[in-house]
C-alpha cells in the first residue's frame, strides 16, 4: 500500500474514532492551547505507529493506548489559571433549564474530582467510564486484571471522598 492510500485509510479510521482523542485531551489538559497541542501530538504519534497496527487488538484499544501514552508522557505543566473543560450549560433549552442546572452541578463535581486524580488513575477511570472491560483496561494499561479492580476501588474511594468534601 502506498503512502497516499495509507493516509486515506488512516484519516478515515481516525476521523471515525476521534472522540477517543478528544476525551483524552479534555481529561489531561487544563487550557485550550494545551488541548490543541496534545491533539496535534497524539495525531502525529497515531500516524507514526499506524503502519505497525496489525489489527490484533481493536482499533479503539490501539487508539487509547497511543493517545494515553502521549498524554501521560506529556511534559507540559498545568497552568495556574484553570478553565472548566467539559462545557457547562449543555442543555440551553429553557424547558430543560432545571435539568441543565443539575447537570452542570454534577459536571463541576465530576470534573473537580477527576482533576485530583493522578495521570495513571485518570487513564484507568476514563477507560472504565468508556465501558471498557477489565481485560481491555489491563491490556491497555499493562497491569493485571486483579490490579485494575484494586485500582478502581481506590479511585472510587478517592472520588467519593472529594465529592463528600464539596
Amino acid at each position: 500500500m502506498d503512502r497516499k492510500d495509507l493516509e486515506k485509510q488512516f484519516t478515515k479510521k481516525v476521523r471515525h474514532s476521534q472522540g477517543i482523542v478528544h476525551k483524552v485531551c479534555r481529561l489531561y489538559c487544563q487550557d485550550d492551547d494545551h488541548r490543541k497541542d496534545l491533539f496535534q501530538e497524539i495525531m502525529v504519534q497515531l500516524w507514526r505507529s499506524f503502519p505497525t497496527f496489525r489489527g490484533e487488538s481493536q482499533f479503539s484499544s490501539w487508539m487509547y493506548r497511543v493517545a494515553l501514552n502521549v498524554a501521560i508522557q506529556d511534559l507540559r505543566k498545568a497552568k495556574k489559571k484553570q478553565q472548566f473543560f467539559f462545557q457547562t450549560n449543555q442543555f440551553k433549552d429553557t424547558s430543560e433549564e432545571k435539568k441543565s442546572e443539575v447537570q452542570d452541578e454534577k459536571l463541576k463535581l465530576m470534573h473537580s474530582a477527576i482533576a485530583k486524580l493522578s495521570k495513571v488513575e485518570k487513564a484507568i477511570v476514563m477507560l472504565h467510564l468508556d465501558e471498557k472491560s477489565n481485560e481491555e483496561i489491563a491490556e491497555i494499561v499493562g497491569i493485571t486484571q486483579n490490579y485494575v479492580r484494586v485500582k478502581m476501588n481506590r479511585i472510587r474511594t478517592k472520588l467519593s471522598k472529594t465529592v463528600k468534601k464539596k
Binding site: T11, R15, V70, Q90, I140
Partner: protein, 213 residues
C-alpha cells in the same frame, strides 16, 4: 453521583463539538512532533551533521598529511606533523564513537515511536531510554571536553614552554585530562539533571503508580 451517566450524557455531547474533518486530521499528521523524544532526535540530527562533517574533514586532513604533509599542517608554530596527526586521529576516534552511539540511540527512538505498547511498558522503555541518553551525554561530554582541555594545555605548553621533557609533558597532559574528566563529568551530570531530571521524576512517579502494592 452516578459518574457513568454524567460521563455519557454530557461529556459525549461536549466531545462531539470538538470533532474535526479529514482535512484537519491530514494537516495534523504532517506537522512536527513536539515530544521530548522528538527534541532529543532534533539534537541528534545536529550532532550527526556537525559530527559527521568534523569526522570527514579530519579524515581528509589525516590522509592528506601522509600524502602531501606540507599542505595539511595547521598552526605550525605549535603543531608539528606528529601532533597534527595524533590530534586528527583523536578527533576521528571520538567522532566515530559518538556517531555510532548516537546512531544506535536514534534507531531505538525510531523503533519506540512506531510501536504501540501498553502504558506501563511504554513508561519503562522511555525511562530506560532517557536514562541511557543522560549517561551517553554525560560520558561523551566529559570525555570530549577533557581531551580537548588536555590538548589545549599541551599546545599552550608547546608555545610557552612551562614543562619540558616527553615524560613530564605526558604526565602533565594526563593529569589535566583526568582532572578535567572528573570536573566535566559532574558539570555534565548537573546539566543533564537540569535538562531531564524533572521530566524523568514525573515519568518514574507515573510508573510507580502502576506497580502493584
Amino acid at each position: 453521583m452516578e459518574l457513568k451517566s454524567v460521563w455519557k450524557g454530557v461529556v459525549d455531547e461536549t466531545i462531539s463539538k470538538d470533532n474535526v474533518d479529514e482535512f484537519v486530521v491530514e494537516k495534523s499528521i504532517k506537522k512536527d512532533s513536539s515530544s521530548v523524544l522528538a527534541k532529543i532526535k532534533r539534537v541528534m540530527y545536529l550532532k550527526f551533521s556537525l559530527g559527521g562533517l568534523s569526522w570527514l574533514i579530519s579524515l581528509v586532513m589525516l590522509i592528506g598529511s601522509f600524502i602531501t604533509p606540507e599542505q595539511f599542517t595547521f598552526y605550525e608554530a605549535i603543531f608539528d606533523l606528529t601532533d597534527n596527526r595524533i590530534f586528527l586521529a583523536t578527533i576521528i576516534v571520538f567522532m566515530s564513537a559518538l556517531l555510532s552511539w548516537n546512531f544506535r540511540a536514534f534507531r531505538e527512538i525510531k523503533h519506540f515511536e512506531t510501536k504501540s505498547v501498553s502504558i506501563k511498558e511504554s513508561l519503562n522503555k522511555l525511562i530506560d531510554f532517557i536514562g541511557r541518553t543522560i549517561k551517553l551525554n554525560v560520558y561523551s561530554g566529559a570525555a570530549f571536553n577533557s581531551v580537548a582541555l588536555g590538548w589545549i594545555f599541551y599546545l599552550v605548553n608547546n608555545k610557552k614552554g612551562f614543562v619540558e621533557g616527553v615524560l613530564q609533558i605526558t604526565l602533565m597532559v594526563l593529569l589535566v585530562t583526568t582532572v578535567g574528566a572528573v570536573v566535566f563529568y559532574f558539570l555534565s551530570r548537573f546539566e543533564q539533571k537540569v535538562k531531564f531530571g524533572n521530566y524523568l521524576n514525573q515519568l518514574k512517579s507515573n510508573r510507580e503508580d502502576l506497580n502493584e502494592k
